[in-house]
Protein backbone atom coordinates (compact mmCIF):
# COMPACT_ATOMS: atom_id res chain seq x y z
CA UNK A 1 0.00 0.00 0.00
CA UNK A 2 2.79 2.36 0.95
CA UNK A 3 4.63 1.56 -2.27
CA UNK A 4 1.45 2.32 -4.22
CA UNK A 5 1.20 5.76 -2.62
CA UNK A 6 4.87 6.45 -3.33
CA UNK A 7 4.30 5.53 -6.99
CA UNK A 8 1.19 7.72 -7.14
CA UNK A 9 3.14 10.58 -5.63
CA UNK A 10 6.04 10.11 -8.03
CA UNK A 11 3.69 9.92 -11.02
CA UNK A 12 2.19 13.35 -10.35
CA UNK A 13 5.52 15.09 -9.79
CA UNK A 14 8.21 15.96 -12.26
CA UNK A 15 11.52 14.15 -11.88
CA UNK A 16 13.62 17.18 -10.90
CA UNK A 17 11.19 18.19 -8.16
CA UNK A 18 11.15 14.68 -6.69
CA UNK A 19 14.94 14.43 -6.86
CA UNK A 20 15.36 17.77 -5.10
CA UNK A 21 12.95 16.68 -2.33
CA UNK A 22 14.83 13.41 -1.85
CA UNK A 23 18.19 15.18 -1.74
CA UNK A 24 16.96 17.77 0.74
CA UNK A 25 15.55 15.03 3.00
CA UNK A 26 18.85 13.15 2.91
CA UNK A 27 20.85 16.29 3.55
CA UNK A 28 18.66 17.33 6.47
CA UNK A 29 19.06 13.89 8.01
CA UNK A 30 22.84 13.88 7.54
CA UNK A 31 23.16 17.44 8.78
CA UNK A 32 21.18 16.68 11.92
CA UNK A 33 23.44 13.74 12.69
CA UNK A 34 26.50 15.85 12.02
CA UNK A 35 25.38 18.81 14.10
CA UNK A 36 24.31 16.77 17.10
CA UNK A 37 27.44 14.64 17.09
CA UNK A 38 29.55 17.78 17.12
CA UNK A 39 27.34 19.72 19.47
CA UNK A 40 29.85 19.86 22.29
CA UNK A 41 32.62 20.71 19.87
CA UNK A 42 30.53 23.53 18.40
CA UNK A 43 30.16 25.12 21.83
CA UNK A 44 33.83 25.94 21.58
CA UNK A 45 33.02 28.24 18.62
CA UNK A 46 32.01 30.93 21.11
CA UNK A 47 35.57 31.23 22.31
CA UNK A 48 37.01 30.97 18.76
CA UNK A 49 37.80 33.81 16.43
CA UNK A 50 35.51 34.99 13.62
CA UNK A 51 38.03 33.83 11.04
CA UNK A 52 38.01 30.34 12.43
CA UNK A 53 34.24 30.38 12.48
CA UNK A 54 34.05 31.35 8.81
CA UNK A 55 36.63 28.76 7.90
CA UNK A 56 34.55 26.06 9.55
CA UNK A 57 31.47 27.40 7.81
CA UNK A 58 33.28 27.30 4.49
CA UNK A 59 34.26 23.67 5.08
CA UNK A 60 30.68 22.81 5.98
CA UNK A 61 29.35 24.45 2.80
CA UNK A 62 32.04 22.77 0.72
CA UNK A 63 31.13 19.42 2.31
CA UNK A 64 27.44 20.03 1.48
CA UNK A 65 28.18 20.92 -2.16
CA UNK A 66 30.47 17.92 -2.56
CA UNK A 67 27.84 15.48 -1.28
CA UNK A 68 25.07 17.19 -3.25
CA UNK A 69 27.00 16.59 -6.47
CA UNK A 70 27.91 13.07 -5.37
CA UNK A 71 24.26 12.15 -4.80
CA UNK A 72 23.02 13.74 -8.03
CA UNK A 73 25.74 12.10 -10.13
CA UNK A 74 25.90 8.89 -8.11
CA UNK A 75 26.66 6.54 -11.06
CA UNK A 76 29.62 8.72 -12.08
CA UNK A 77 30.80 9.05 -8.48
CA UNK A 78 30.63 5.25 -8.17
CA UNK A 79 32.65 4.85 -11.36
CA UNK A 80 35.29 7.29 -10.05
CA UNK A 81 35.44 5.44 -6.75
CA UNK A 82 35.78 2.11 -8.56
CA UNK A 83 38.78 3.42 -10.52
CA UNK A 84 40.37 4.59 -7.28
CA UNK A 85 39.67 1.19 -5.70
CA UNK A 86 41.28 -0.67 -8.61
CA UNK A 87 44.39 1.50 -8.31
CA UNK A 88 44.73 1.14 -4.56
CA UNK A 89 43.96 -2.60 -4.46
CA UNK A 90 46.92 -3.43 -6.71
CA UNK A 91 48.81 -5.06 -3.84
CA UNK A 92 45.82 -7.01 -2.51
CA UNK A 93 46.41 -10.39 -4.12
CA UNK A 94 45.41 -13.89 -3.20
CA UNK A 95 47.63 -16.47 -4.89
CA UNK A 96 46.81 -19.25 -2.46
CA UNK A 97 46.05 -21.54 -5.41
CA UNK A 98 49.80 -21.70 -6.04
CA UNK A 99 50.49 -23.22 -2.63
CA UNK A 100 51.65 -26.80 -2.34
CA UNK A 101 48.81 -29.28 -2.01
CA UNK A 102 50.25 -30.55 1.25
CA UNK A 103 51.19 -27.28 2.87
CA UNK A 104 52.22 -28.19 6.35
Amino acid sequence: MTIYFIFEYLKDHPFVKTLVIVIIVILIFVLLVRIFSRFLQDLDYLSGSLKRHFRNLFHLIWWLIKWLFTIIFLPFATKKLKNEYEDISYYFVNNSRFKDEINT
Binding site: F7, L10, K11, F15, L74, P75, A77, T78, L81, K82, E84, Y85, I88, S89, Y91, F92, V93, N94, N95, S96, F98, K99, D100, N103, T104
Partner: protein
Amino acid sequence: MKLILKLLRFIGIIVCLIIIYNISHVLFWTVIGIYYFYCLARFIYYRSRIGFLRMFDGSINYLSKLAYVCVVSGNIRAGKTTFLFGASHLLTIKIQQMIYSRMAEIERILIDVNFSKIIDLYLLNSGSHQDKVNSVLNDLIVSDDAGNQRFIFDLGNLYFDHLTYQRKFKLLHEYLDLFMHSQRNDYIFSRVRAFNQLTKSYSLFLDPKWEKLKEKNDFPFDEYSVFLDDEKSLDSSNIKNAGKSEDDGADIFYRLFGQLFREKSWYLTTLQNAKRWVRAEREIAQFHFYVKQSYLIGDYPRIKRILDLIESVNQFIYRIVCKFKNVRYQDRKNLFKRISLWILQKQKYLTSRGFILFSCNCYKDIENVGKSIKQEDQDSENHMFDFCIPVPYCWGIGDTHAYHGLIDLLYEQSKLDRNKLGQVSLDLQKIDFEDIITKYSEKQKSGQIAPVKRQIIE
Protein backbone atom coordinates in the same frame (compact mmCIF):
# COMPACT_ATOMS: atom_id res chain seq x y z
CA MET B 1 36.55 -0.75 -30.62
CA LYS B 2 36.01 -1.08 -26.90
CA LEU B 3 34.93 2.56 -26.72
CA ILE B 4 32.44 2.10 -29.56
CA LEU B 5 30.94 -0.93 -27.80
CA LYS B 6 30.62 1.08 -24.59
CA LEU B 7 28.97 3.93 -26.50
CA LEU B 8 26.54 1.52 -28.18
CA ARG B 9 25.66 -0.01 -24.83
CA PHE B 10 25.04 3.44 -23.37
CA ILE B 11 22.80 4.43 -26.32
CA GLY B 12 20.94 1.10 -25.98
CA ILE B 13 20.27 1.74 -22.30
CA ILE B 14 18.98 5.26 -23.06
CA VAL B 15 16.67 3.94 -25.82
CA CYS B 16 15.33 1.22 -23.50
CA LEU B 17 14.66 3.82 -20.80
CA ILE B 18 12.76 6.06 -23.27
CA ILE B 19 10.63 3.08 -24.35
CA ILE B 20 9.92 2.15 -20.72
CA TYR B 21 9.04 5.80 -19.95
CA ASN B 22 6.47 5.82 -22.76
CA ILE B 23 4.95 2.51 -21.65
CA SER B 24 4.66 3.25 -17.94
CA HIS B 25 5.92 6.08 -15.80
CA VAL B 26 5.82 3.99 -12.64
CA LEU B 27 7.91 1.24 -14.24
CA PHE B 28 10.41 3.85 -15.41
CA TRP B 29 10.89 5.35 -11.95
CA THR B 30 11.09 1.87 -10.44
CA VAL B 31 13.93 0.96 -12.83
CA ILE B 32 15.71 4.24 -12.07
CA GLY B 33 15.23 3.67 -8.32
CA ILE B 34 16.64 0.14 -8.50
CA TYR B 35 19.61 1.41 -10.49
CA TYR B 36 20.29 4.17 -7.96
CA PHE B 37 20.02 1.66 -5.13
CA TYR B 38 22.51 -0.59 -6.95
CA CYS B 39 24.87 2.39 -7.41
CA LEU B 40 24.54 3.31 -3.74
CA ALA B 41 25.38 -0.24 -2.66
CA ARG B 42 28.47 -0.26 -4.87
CA PHE B 43 29.41 3.21 -3.62
CA ILE B 44 29.28 2.06 0.02
CA TYR B 45 31.22 -1.12 -0.85
CA TYR B 46 34.05 0.76 -2.57
CA ARG B 47 34.25 3.41 0.15
CA SER B 48 34.58 0.81 2.90
CA ARG B 49 37.18 -1.17 0.92
CA ILE B 50 39.19 1.97 0.14
CA GLY B 51 39.20 2.83 3.85
CA PHE B 52 40.76 -0.53 4.74
CA LEU B 53 43.19 -0.41 1.82
CA ARG B 54 44.40 3.04 2.89
CA MET B 55 45.08 1.67 6.35
CA PHE B 56 46.97 -1.19 4.68
CA ASP B 57 49.01 1.31 2.64
CA GLY B 58 49.73 3.28 5.82
CA SER B 59 50.95 0.08 7.50
CA ILE B 60 53.44 -0.56 4.67
CA ASN B 61 54.93 2.93 4.93
CA TYR B 62 54.97 2.90 8.72
CA LEU B 63 56.71 -0.47 9.06
CA SER B 64 59.31 0.05 6.32
CA LYS B 65 60.38 3.51 7.51
CA LEU B 66 60.50 2.72 11.20
CA ALA B 67 63.40 0.32 11.73
CA TYR B 68 65.47 -2.47 10.21
CA VAL B 69 65.78 -4.77 13.22
CA CYS B 70 62.45 -5.21 14.99
CA VAL B 71 61.21 -7.44 17.77
CA VAL B 72 57.61 -8.63 17.97
CA SER B 73 56.47 -9.68 21.40
CA GLY B 74 53.13 -10.30 23.04
CA ASN B 75 51.05 -12.75 24.99
CA ILE B 76 50.70 -16.39 24.01
CA ARG B 77 48.40 -16.73 20.93
CA ALA B 78 48.08 -12.93 20.61
CA GLY B 79 49.07 -13.19 16.96
CA LYS B 80 52.85 -12.68 16.96
CA THR B 81 53.68 -15.25 14.29
CA THR B 82 50.64 -14.22 12.22
CA PHE B 83 51.82 -10.62 12.44
CA LEU B 84 55.30 -11.76 11.39
CA PHE B 85 53.90 -13.36 8.23
CA GLY B 86 51.81 -10.28 7.48
CA ALA B 87 54.79 -7.98 8.03
CA SER B 88 56.87 -10.07 5.62
CA HIS B 89 54.32 -9.27 2.89
CA LEU B 90 54.30 -5.57 3.74
CA LEU B 91 58.08 -5.48 3.44
CA THR B 92 58.04 -7.50 0.21
CA ILE B 93 55.76 -4.85 -1.27
CA LYS B 94 58.15 -2.15 -0.05
CA ILE B 95 61.13 -4.00 -1.57
CA GLN B 96 59.38 -4.26 -4.93
CA GLN B 97 58.46 -0.57 -4.80
CA MET B 98 62.07 0.36 -3.96
CA ILE B 99 63.49 -1.75 -6.79
CA TYR B 100 61.15 -0.43 -9.47
CA SER B 101 61.41 3.21 -8.37
CA ARG B 102 65.23 3.08 -8.42
CA MET B 103 65.20 1.37 -11.83
CA ALA B 104 62.93 4.11 -13.15
CA GLU B 105 65.26 6.76 -11.71
CA ILE B 106 68.32 5.22 -13.42
CA GLU B 107 66.38 5.04 -16.68
CA ARG B 108 65.72 8.78 -16.34
CA ILE B 109 69.42 9.50 -15.72
CA LEU B 110 70.92 7.34 -18.49
CA ILE B 111 68.93 8.79 -21.36
CA ASP B 112 71.40 7.53 -24.01
CA VAL B 113 71.09 3.89 -23.01
CA ASN B 114 68.81 1.46 -24.80
CA PHE B 115 67.61 -0.50 -21.78
CA SER B 116 65.59 -3.09 -23.68
CA LYS B 117 68.76 -4.05 -25.55
CA ILE B 118 70.74 -4.20 -22.30
CA ILE B 119 68.15 -6.50 -20.73
CA ASP B 120 68.15 -8.73 -23.83
CA LEU B 121 71.96 -8.96 -23.63
CA TYR B 122 71.74 -9.80 -19.93
CA LEU B 123 69.17 -12.53 -20.47
CA LEU B 124 71.08 -14.07 -23.39
CA ASN B 125 74.15 -14.69 -21.25
CA SER B 126 74.44 -17.63 -18.91
CA GLY B 127 76.28 -18.22 -15.67
CA SER B 128 76.21 -16.33 -12.42
CA HIS B 129 74.82 -12.81 -12.11
CA GLN B 130 78.30 -11.28 -11.91
CA ASP B 131 79.39 -13.12 -15.09
CA LYS B 132 76.32 -11.85 -16.91
CA VAL B 133 76.93 -8.26 -15.79
CA ASN B 134 80.61 -8.42 -16.80
CA SER B 135 79.65 -9.84 -20.16
CA VAL B 136 77.10 -7.07 -20.76
CA LEU B 137 79.54 -4.33 -19.76
CA ASN B 138 82.24 -5.85 -22.01
CA ASP B 139 79.80 -5.80 -24.92
CA LEU B 140 79.34 -2.07 -24.39
CA ILE B 141 83.07 -1.30 -24.83
CA VAL B 142 84.18 -0.44 -28.35
CA SER B 143 87.56 0.48 -29.85
CA ASP B 144 87.89 3.56 -32.03
CA ASP B 145 90.26 4.01 -35.01
CA ALA B 146 93.12 5.02 -32.77
CA GLY B 147 92.75 1.84 -30.73
CA ASN B 148 91.36 3.59 -27.67
CA GLN B 149 88.65 1.71 -25.81
CA ARG B 150 85.53 3.56 -24.70
CA PHE B 151 81.98 2.89 -23.58
CA ILE B 152 79.08 3.39 -25.95
CA PHE B 153 75.85 5.07 -24.78
CA ASP B 154 77.96 7.82 -23.11
CA LEU B 155 78.66 5.47 -20.20
CA GLY B 156 82.25 6.63 -19.74
CA ASN B 157 81.17 9.99 -18.37
CA LEU B 158 80.14 11.05 -14.90
CA TYR B 159 76.72 11.97 -13.53
CA PHE B 160 76.51 14.79 -10.98
CA ASP B 161 73.42 14.94 -8.74
CA HIS B 162 74.36 18.27 -7.10
CA LEU B 163 75.83 16.32 -4.19
CA THR B 164 78.14 13.62 -5.51
CA TYR B 165 79.67 12.32 -8.73
CA GLN B 166 78.72 8.85 -9.97
CA ARG B 167 80.13 6.89 -12.88
CA LYS B 168 77.44 6.14 -15.41
CA PHE B 169 78.59 2.57 -16.04
CA LYS B 170 78.36 1.99 -12.27
CA LEU B 171 74.77 3.16 -12.46
CA LEU B 172 74.19 0.66 -15.25
CA HIS B 173 75.77 -2.02 -13.08
CA GLU B 174 73.35 -1.08 -10.30
CA TYR B 175 70.46 -1.21 -12.78
CA LEU B 176 71.37 -4.78 -13.74
CA ASP B 177 71.65 -5.70 -10.05
CA LEU B 178 68.19 -4.26 -9.51
CA PHE B 179 66.87 -6.15 -12.52
CA MET B 180 68.24 -9.37 -11.03
CA HIS B 181 66.53 -8.56 -7.72
CA SER B 182 63.26 -7.76 -9.51
CA GLN B 183 63.31 -11.24 -11.07
CA ARG B 184 63.76 -12.93 -7.69
CA ASN B 185 60.94 -14.81 -6.02
CA ASP B 186 62.78 -15.41 -2.75
CA TYR B 187 62.77 -12.23 -0.72
CA ILE B 188 61.95 -14.06 2.51
CA PHE B 189 64.36 -16.02 4.70
CA SER B 190 62.54 -17.88 7.42
CA ARG B 191 63.13 -20.70 9.85
CA VAL B 192 59.47 -21.68 9.56
CA ARG B 193 58.26 -22.48 6.05
CA ALA B 194 56.29 -19.46 4.85
CA PHE B 195 54.45 -18.83 1.59
CA ASN B 196 54.64 -15.45 -0.12
CA GLN B 197 51.46 -14.37 -1.90
CA LEU B 198 53.24 -11.74 -3.98
CA THR B 199 56.00 -13.93 -5.39
CA LYS B 200 53.93 -17.15 -5.29
CA SER B 201 56.82 -19.00 -3.67
CA TYR B 202 57.99 -20.38 -0.35
CA SER B 203 60.63 -18.79 1.85
CA LEU B 204 64.30 -19.73 1.89
CA PHE B 205 65.72 -21.45 4.92
CA LEU B 206 67.26 -19.28 7.64
CA ASP B 207 69.75 -20.83 10.02
CA PRO B 208 70.57 -18.62 13.04
CA LYS B 209 74.15 -19.90 13.04
CA TRP B 210 74.77 -17.97 9.79
CA GLU B 211 74.34 -14.79 11.84
CA LYS B 212 77.29 -15.77 14.09
CA LEU B 213 79.95 -13.94 12.15
CA LYS B 214 82.86 -14.94 14.38
CA GLU B 215 82.25 -18.65 13.82
CA LYS B 216 83.15 -18.27 10.13
CA ASN B 217 79.97 -19.97 8.95
CA ASP B 218 78.31 -19.63 5.56
CA PHE B 219 76.68 -16.33 4.70
CA PRO B 220 74.03 -16.87 2.01
CA PHE B 221 72.11 -13.62 2.66
CA ASP B 222 71.54 -10.92 0.09
CA GLU B 223 70.20 -7.39 -0.15
CA TYR B 224 66.48 -6.80 -0.59
CA SER B 225 65.52 -9.54 1.84
CA VAL B 226 63.34 -9.99 4.88
CA PHE B 227 64.58 -12.25 7.66
CA LEU B 228 61.94 -13.87 9.85
CA ASP B 229 63.21 -15.55 12.98
CA ASP B 230 60.32 -17.09 14.87
CA GLU B 231 60.84 -17.73 18.60
CA LYS B 232 64.28 -16.17 19.00
CA SER B 233 64.42 -17.26 22.64
CA LEU B 234 64.93 -20.87 21.53
CA ASP B 235 68.45 -20.23 20.27
CA SER B 236 69.44 -16.95 21.89
CA SER B 237 67.97 -16.87 25.37
CA ASN B 238 69.72 -15.27 28.35
CA ILE B 239 68.64 -17.95 30.80
CA LYS B 240 71.84 -19.82 31.65
CA ASN B 241 72.28 -23.26 30.07
CA ALA B 242 69.09 -22.72 28.05
CA GLY B 243 70.60 -20.74 25.23
CA LYS B 244 73.91 -19.06 24.49
CA SER B 245 75.86 -16.31 26.06
CA GLU B 246 79.18 -16.67 24.31
CA ASP B 247 80.97 -14.23 22.08
CA ASP B 248 79.85 -15.59 18.70
CA GLY B 249 79.55 -12.37 16.70
CA ALA B 250 75.78 -12.43 16.27
CA ASP B 251 75.59 -9.01 17.90
CA ILE B 252 77.90 -7.66 15.16
CA PHE B 253 75.45 -8.96 12.56
CA TYR B 254 72.62 -6.95 14.13
CA ARG B 255 74.85 -3.94 14.83
CA LEU B 256 75.99 -3.68 11.23
CA PHE B 257 72.68 -4.86 9.75
CA GLY B 258 71.86 -1.50 8.15
CA GLN B 259 75.28 -1.16 6.59
CA LEU B 260 75.66 -4.80 5.52
CA PHE B 261 72.50 -4.69 3.44
CA ARG B 262 72.61 -0.94 2.70
CA GLU B 263 69.25 -0.32 4.44
CA LYS B 264 67.50 -2.60 2.00
CA SER B 265 66.72 -5.53 4.27
CA TRP B 266 64.71 -6.09 7.41
CA TYR B 267 65.05 -8.45 10.33
CA LEU B 268 61.98 -9.44 12.34
CA THR B 269 61.89 -11.80 15.25
CA THR B 270 59.28 -12.91 17.79
CA LEU B 271 59.69 -13.33 21.51
CA GLN B 272 57.19 -13.89 24.28
CA ASN B 273 59.26 -11.69 26.55
CA ALA B 274 61.61 -9.22 24.86
CA LYS B 275 63.95 -9.21 27.86
CA ARG B 276 64.77 -12.90 27.51
CA TRP B 277 66.93 -12.25 24.44
CA VAL B 278 70.63 -11.84 25.32
CA ARG B 279 71.42 -8.27 26.27
CA ALA B 280 74.19 -7.68 23.72
CA GLU B 281 71.75 -8.43 20.90
CA ARG B 282 68.43 -7.17 22.22
CA GLU B 283 69.83 -3.67 22.84
CA ILE B 284 70.51 -3.31 19.14
CA ALA B 285 66.89 -3.95 18.16
CA GLN B 286 65.60 -0.59 16.98
CA PHE B 287 61.92 -1.04 17.65
CA HIS B 288 59.68 -3.32 19.67
CA PHE B 289 56.12 -4.15 18.69
CA TYR B 290 53.92 -5.51 21.43
CA VAL B 291 50.89 -7.23 19.89
CA LYS B 292 47.97 -6.64 22.23
CA GLN B 293 45.18 -8.18 20.21
CA SER B 294 44.23 -9.01 16.64
CA TYR B 295 40.77 -8.65 15.08
CA LEU B 296 39.21 -9.74 11.83
CA ILE B 297 37.61 -6.78 10.03
CA GLY B 298 36.09 -6.09 6.62
CA ASP B 299 34.88 -9.66 6.19
CA TYR B 300 31.20 -8.72 5.63
CA PRO B 301 29.74 -10.13 8.86
CA ARG B 302 26.18 -9.10 7.94
CA ILE B 303 26.30 -10.97 4.63
CA LYS B 304 27.72 -13.96 6.50
CA ARG B 305 24.78 -13.82 8.90
CA ILE B 306 22.33 -13.75 5.98
CA LEU B 307 24.11 -16.79 4.53
CA ASP B 308 23.83 -18.50 7.92
CA LEU B 309 20.11 -17.80 7.85
CA ILE B 310 19.81 -19.33 4.38
CA GLU B 311 21.79 -22.33 5.61
CA SER B 312 19.45 -22.85 8.57
CA VAL B 313 16.43 -22.68 6.22
CA ASN B 314 18.20 -25.15 3.92
CA GLN B 315 18.83 -27.55 6.82
CA PHE B 316 15.20 -27.20 7.96
CA ILE B 317 13.87 -28.15 4.53
CA TYR B 318 16.46 -30.92 4.26
CA ARG B 319 15.27 -32.51 7.53
CA ILE B 320 11.65 -32.44 6.31
CA VAL B 321 12.59 -33.91 2.91
CA CYS B 322 14.62 -36.66 4.58
CA LYS B 323 11.51 -37.86 6.38
CA PHE B 324 9.79 -38.54 3.07
CA LYS B 325 12.81 -40.00 1.30
CA ASN B 326 14.49 -43.35 1.92
CA VAL B 327 17.48 -43.75 4.26
CA ARG B 328 20.05 -43.78 1.46
CA TYR B 329 19.13 -40.24 0.41
CA GLN B 330 21.20 -38.78 3.27
CA ASP B 331 24.28 -40.80 2.32
CA ARG B 332 24.37 -39.56 -1.26
CA LYS B 333 25.37 -36.19 -2.67
CA ASN B 334 22.18 -34.20 -3.02
CA LEU B 335 20.91 -30.70 -3.74
CA PHE B 336 20.81 -29.63 -0.09
CA LYS B 337 24.40 -30.72 0.53
CA ARG B 338 25.47 -28.81 -2.57
CA ILE B 339 23.70 -25.65 -1.35
CA SER B 340 25.31 -26.07 2.06
CA LEU B 341 28.76 -26.40 0.51
CA TRP B 342 28.12 -23.37 -1.71
CA ILE B 343 27.18 -21.26 1.33
CA LEU B 344 30.27 -22.44 3.22
CA GLN B 345 32.52 -21.61 0.29
CA LYS B 346 30.97 -18.13 0.00
CA GLN B 347 31.56 -17.51 3.70
CA LYS B 348 35.18 -18.67 3.37
CA TYR B 349 35.61 -16.39 0.36
CA LEU B 350 34.25 -13.40 2.30
CA THR B 351 36.69 -14.16 5.12
CA SER B 352 39.57 -14.24 2.65
CA ARG B 353 38.56 -10.75 1.46
CA GLY B 354 38.90 -9.35 4.96
CA PHE B 355 41.69 -7.70 6.87
CA ILE B 356 43.32 -8.40 10.21
CA LEU B 357 43.80 -5.45 12.52
CA PHE B 358 46.78 -5.92 14.81
CA SER B 359 46.48 -3.55 17.73
CA CYS B 360 50.12 -2.91 18.70
CA ASN B 361 52.08 -0.85 21.17
CA CYS B 362 55.35 0.34 19.66
CA TYR B 363 58.34 1.09 21.89
CA LYS B 364 61.80 2.41 21.17
CA ASP B 365 63.19 1.41 24.55
CA ILE B 366 63.12 -2.23 25.59
CA GLU B 367 62.52 -1.27 29.24
CA ASN B 368 59.05 0.02 28.34
CA VAL B 369 57.90 -3.08 26.44
CA GLY B 370 54.56 -4.30 27.71
CA LYS B 371 53.69 -1.11 29.58
CA SER B 372 50.36 0.46 28.72
CA ILE B 373 50.42 3.70 26.73
CA LYS B 374 47.79 6.36 27.26
CA GLN B 375 46.31 8.16 24.30
CA GLU B 376 47.63 11.55 25.45
CA ASP B 377 51.14 10.25 26.34
CA GLN B 378 52.00 9.10 22.84
CA ASP B 379 55.21 10.28 21.20
CA SER B 380 57.63 9.08 18.53
CA GLU B 381 59.25 6.62 20.96
CA ASN B 382 56.17 5.12 22.60
CA HIS B 383 52.94 5.01 20.69
CA MET B 384 50.09 2.83 19.53
CA PHE B 385 49.60 1.72 15.94
CA ASP B 386 47.02 -0.48 14.27
CA PHE B 387 48.45 -2.57 11.46
CA CYS B 388 45.84 -3.46 8.87
CA ILE B 389 46.96 -6.47 6.84
CA PRO B 390 44.86 -8.54 4.37
CA VAL B 391 43.81 -11.98 5.55
CA PRO B 392 45.55 -13.89 2.70
CA TYR B 393 48.87 -12.39 3.87
CA CYS B 394 48.45 -13.62 7.43
CA TRP B 395 46.46 -16.82 7.58
CA GLY B 396 47.58 -20.05 5.98
CA ILE B 397 51.00 -18.60 5.13
CA GLY B 398 53.01 -20.85 7.38
CA ASP B 399 52.53 -23.28 10.16
CA THR B 400 51.84 -21.23 13.29
CA HIS B 401 52.13 -24.50 15.23
CA ALA B 402 55.54 -25.37 13.75
CA TYR B 403 56.74 -26.70 17.09
CA HIS B 404 53.79 -29.08 17.36
CA GLY B 405 56.15 -31.89 16.19
CA LEU B 406 57.80 -31.74 19.61
CA ILE B 407 54.79 -33.51 21.09
CA ASP B 408 55.68 -36.75 19.26
CA LEU B 409 59.11 -36.75 20.91
CA LEU B 410 57.50 -36.11 24.30
CA TYR B 411 55.12 -39.04 23.77
CA GLU B 412 58.08 -41.26 22.94
CA GLN B 413 59.85 -40.28 26.17
CA SER B 414 56.75 -40.62 28.32
CA LYS B 415 55.94 -43.90 30.07
CA LEU B 416 52.41 -42.81 30.94
CA ASP B 417 49.55 -42.75 28.50
CA ARG B 418 46.27 -40.86 28.87
CA ASN B 419 44.32 -44.10 28.58
CA LYS B 420 46.34 -45.64 31.43
CA LEU B 421 45.55 -42.78 33.82
CA GLY B 422 42.88 -43.50 36.40
CA GLN B 423 40.23 -41.09 37.55
CA VAL B 424 41.11 -38.97 40.58
CA SER B 425 40.38 -40.97 43.72
CA LEU B 426 40.01 -39.55 47.21
CA ASP B 427 43.50 -40.84 48.14
CA LEU B 428 45.09 -38.94 45.27
CA GLN B 429 43.17 -35.82 46.22
CA LYS B 430 44.60 -35.88 49.75
CA ILE B 431 46.39 -32.59 50.49
CA ASP B 432 49.53 -32.33 52.63
CA PHE B 433 48.53 -29.37 54.82
CA GLU B 434 51.78 -29.62 56.82
CA ASP B 435 53.79 -29.02 53.67
CA ILE B 436 51.91 -25.82 52.89
CA ILE B 437 52.84 -24.08 56.13
CA THR B 438 56.51 -25.22 56.16
CA LYS B 439 59.09 -22.58 55.18
CA TYR B 440 61.14 -23.02 52.01
CA SER B 441 64.46 -22.75 53.90
CA GLU B 442 63.37 -25.34 56.44
CA LYS B 443 62.53 -27.72 53.63
CA GLN B 444 66.02 -27.26 52.18
CA LYS B 445 67.62 -27.86 55.60
CA SER B 446 65.64 -31.01 56.20
CA GLY B 447 66.59 -32.25 52.72
CA GLN B 448 63.03 -32.45 51.42
CA ILE B 449 64.02 -30.45 48.35
CA ALA B 450 67.37 -29.82 46.66
CA PRO B 451 68.58 -26.21 46.35
CA VAL B 452 67.89 -24.93 42.83
CA LYS B 453 69.69 -21.98 41.26
CA ARG B 454 68.13 -20.38 38.23
CA GLN B 455 70.58 -17.69 37.28
CA ILE B 456 69.56 -15.00 34.81
CA ILE B 457 72.27 -13.02 33.07
CA GLU B 458 71.28 -9.41 32.47
